[in-house]
């Protein structure tokens, strides 16, 4: 697969010399569903706006289909955007909103009718042609926004937190629908979200961002199972993160105890972040365990119980299908491969 969009050493500084993006390089492959994931203010929307052309980077190069496109205005780029708050034209009805890009580019009327018709069918809005966009529900406006962008057959569709304003059930439906559309049309989707579950559900590849830097790029499974640092581990799903050190290869020490692990290559007694997923903490009887704690609270979460256990130096979050009584002493253990060791990052 070829790279459709490439960013090379992108830096964005605003007037007050605040660095929004600090040297970002990134390749997006053709026909891929890529998600920029990170907390608000991490620079993910800024990166999207650079690809769309609404923002010029302070330094660095943007390539599209192998050609450098710095300075090319948005209307000359073969990408279309689905805006966060849809940005539908209030003076036009559903049909005219979708037809907008085609009319601007002087597409013949006959072709407009058939292409807008296809789009209406695809997003399930047949019969709404004459409806004012102000009289649509959030979900319907969302569909119009997607149709309005896709009708132009862009090579890349940029989506800026498009589902943020929808309720949970609708959001899940739209996630599946968007993924289906992307696969059917064989397009590149670049999707911005702060919702890690959304990112894991939809993406071929996830770009985790924080503080204007890329933290990790990888498939959803890689990012979840092999986070490269404590930030990614914490942001993608819940995690127990404790300070530890590596006295030797395959042995890690935390909360004053030594555990067997599978990581090597650290310098002797290097301090590290130890990350353990809540579902990887195994509950065993207290008298058989190296590590014990007292159950502080139990919350039923549907599929599992979430327990907060007060151990030495750390409150452990544990996901288990079996609840232990509050106040009881339990033991905890971990399989060696469930203990993830990470180098300390400079910015905490």
């Amino acid at each position: 697969m070829e790279n459709i969009v490439s960013l090379k050493n992108i830096v964005v500084e605003f007037e007050d010399s605040e660095r929004i993006l600090k040297n970002i390089s990134l390749d997006i492959k053709d026909k891929e569903f890529v998600t920029f994931l990170g907390p608000s203010g991490c620079g993910k929307t800024t990166t999207l706006r650079i690809i769309a052309g609404f923002l010029e980077p302070t330094s660095g190069d943007v390539y599209f289909d192998g050609k450098r496109i710095n300075g090319l205005p948005p209307h000359k780029r073969n990408v279309n955007t689905v805006f966060q708050r849809y940005a539908l034209f209030p003076h036009l009805n559903v049909y005219e909103n979708i037809a907008f890009g085609l009319r601007v580019n002087n597409v013949p009327e006959k072709e407009i009718v058939s292409r807008v018709g296809q789009m209406l069918e695809m997003v399930n809005l047949m019969g709404f042609e004459k409806r004012s966009v102000n009289r649509l529900s959030g979900g319907q406006q969302q569909r119009v926004a997607i149709a309005r962008a896709l009708v132009n057959r862009p090579k890349v569709l940029l989506l800026d937190e498009p589902l943020g304003a929808l309720d949970l059930k609708l959001r899940k439906e739209m996630q599946i629908e968007l993924r289906k559309i992307q696969q059917e049309l064989e397009l590149t989707f670049v999707y911005v979200t702060h919702d890690q579950e959304e990112a894991l559900t939809m993406s071929d590849s996830i770009v985790v961002m924080n503080n204007g830097n890329i933290q990790q790029i990888g498939s959803p499974t890689d990012i979840y199972n092999e986070p490269v640092n404590a930030f990614v581990a914490d942001f993608i799903g819940e995690s127990n993160i404790v300070n530890g050190c590596m006295p030797q290869d395959c042995v890690v020490e935390f909360t004053g105890r030594r555990f067997e692990c599978v990581d090597k290559g650290f310098s002797p007694n290097e301090t590290v972040d130890v990350v353990i997923r809540p579902e990887d903490v195994k509950v065993i009887p207290a008298d058989k365990a190296k590590l014990t704690g007292i159950v502080e609270s139990v919350v039923f979460k549907g599929v599992h119980y979430e327990m907060i256990v007060d151990g030495v130096d750390h409150k452990w979050v544990i996901h288990s299908t079996k609840a232990e009584p509050v106040g009881s002493m339990i033991g905890m253990t971990f399989d060696p491969f469930d203990i993830h060791i990470m180098k300390k990052t400079e910015e905490a």
Binding site: A52, G53, F54, P73, P74, H75, V79, N80, T81, F83, Q84, R85, A87, L88, F89, P90, H91, F100, G101, R103, V104, N105, R148, A149, N152
Partner: protein, 268 residues
């Protein structure tokens, strides 16, 4: 809802000071001195057709100039940072703090044959030009006095246009020119129509501007009406008839304007 009773004072005001005078104008227009019904005065209005045509023409020209000047100003104003907008709006409004007569009088001295402008032309060996007492001076006076009434409604409509709509237009293939045609102008239509109304109506019925800047040869309807009530030609019946005809003309023009506004928000 008991709330509607609070509008009672305004209702009384409207009846006493607007509806009753309107009926009185209609009554005067259709009667003679003896109180007998007649359409003589209405038909007499026809004699002044040339003044009507001149008034409509000059105020249309002034309105058009106001629109062309105010549109870019309002757009730039509406896209400025919020705290700068306040200051700029104040500057736009500033001339209105000065008395209307005084402002117009100032133009007399500027435009006069020995006025400052001709004096400046004289310094470079040109002129003097005849600036005052021309129809151009009347249009200038109208534009100068009524420009803020065009800027304000345009600004208030444009200020509400979401910036992301411009980005969306650009994203969908619009150059700046196409964005203007396809997004900005359609969305500012209510401002355009109410601005036109707010400039055209006072301009067509003004009499001070034409009196001071137009000399004797640029009589407008307003002057004509004034002469019937306060001048030597004293004839309130004719004055009322002219006012009535003017009202009908304005009404017709505004109804035509309404056709351009999808939301029927034109001030009438």
């Amino acid at each position: 809802m008991k709330l509607k009773y609070f509008s009672a004072p305004y209702l009384v005001w409207m009846v006493v000071f607007i509806v009753v005078p309107l009926l009185m104008i209609a009554y005067f227009a259709f009667t003679n001195d003896d109180g007998g019904l007649t359409i003589k005065h209405i038909s007499d209005v026809g004699q002044y057709a040339n003044i009507f045509v001149r008034s409509i023409w000059l105020s249309l020209v002034a309105t058009a100039i106001c629109l062309v000047v105010a549109y870019p100003v309002s757009f730039i104003l509406s896209r400025m940072e919020k705290h700068k907008q306040g200051t700029m709006l104040m500057i736009v409004m500033l001339p209105m703090w000065m008395n209307f007569l005084l402002r117009t009088y100032a133009w007399m001295t500027l435009l006069g044959n020995n006025g400052i402008i001709n004096h400046l032309f004289g310094l470079v060996g040109m002129g003097p030009f005849k600036l005052i007492n021309t129809s151009g001076a009347v249009v200038l006076g109208m534009v100068y006095n009524y420009l803020p009434f065009m800027i304000l409604p345009l600004y208030s409509v444009m200020e509400k246009i979401d910036k992301s709509l411009f980005e969306a237009a650009s994203d969908l293939g619009c150059s700046s020119g196409k964005t203007l045609l396809r997004v900005v102008i359609p969305l500012s239509m209510p401002g355009i129509t109410s601005g036109i109304t707010m400039v055209f109506v006072p301009a067509i019925s003004t009499f001070i501007i034409s009196r001071m800047l137009g000399g004797g040869s640029n009589l407008l309807i307003g002057d004509l009406i004034e002469m019937q009530f306060l001048g030597n030609a004293y004839n309130p019946h004719l004055g009322a008839a002219i006012s009535l005809v003017l009202m009908v003309i304005i009404l017709v023009i505004m109804t035509v304007m309404n056709q351009f506004d999808p939301d029927d928000q034109v001030l009438m």
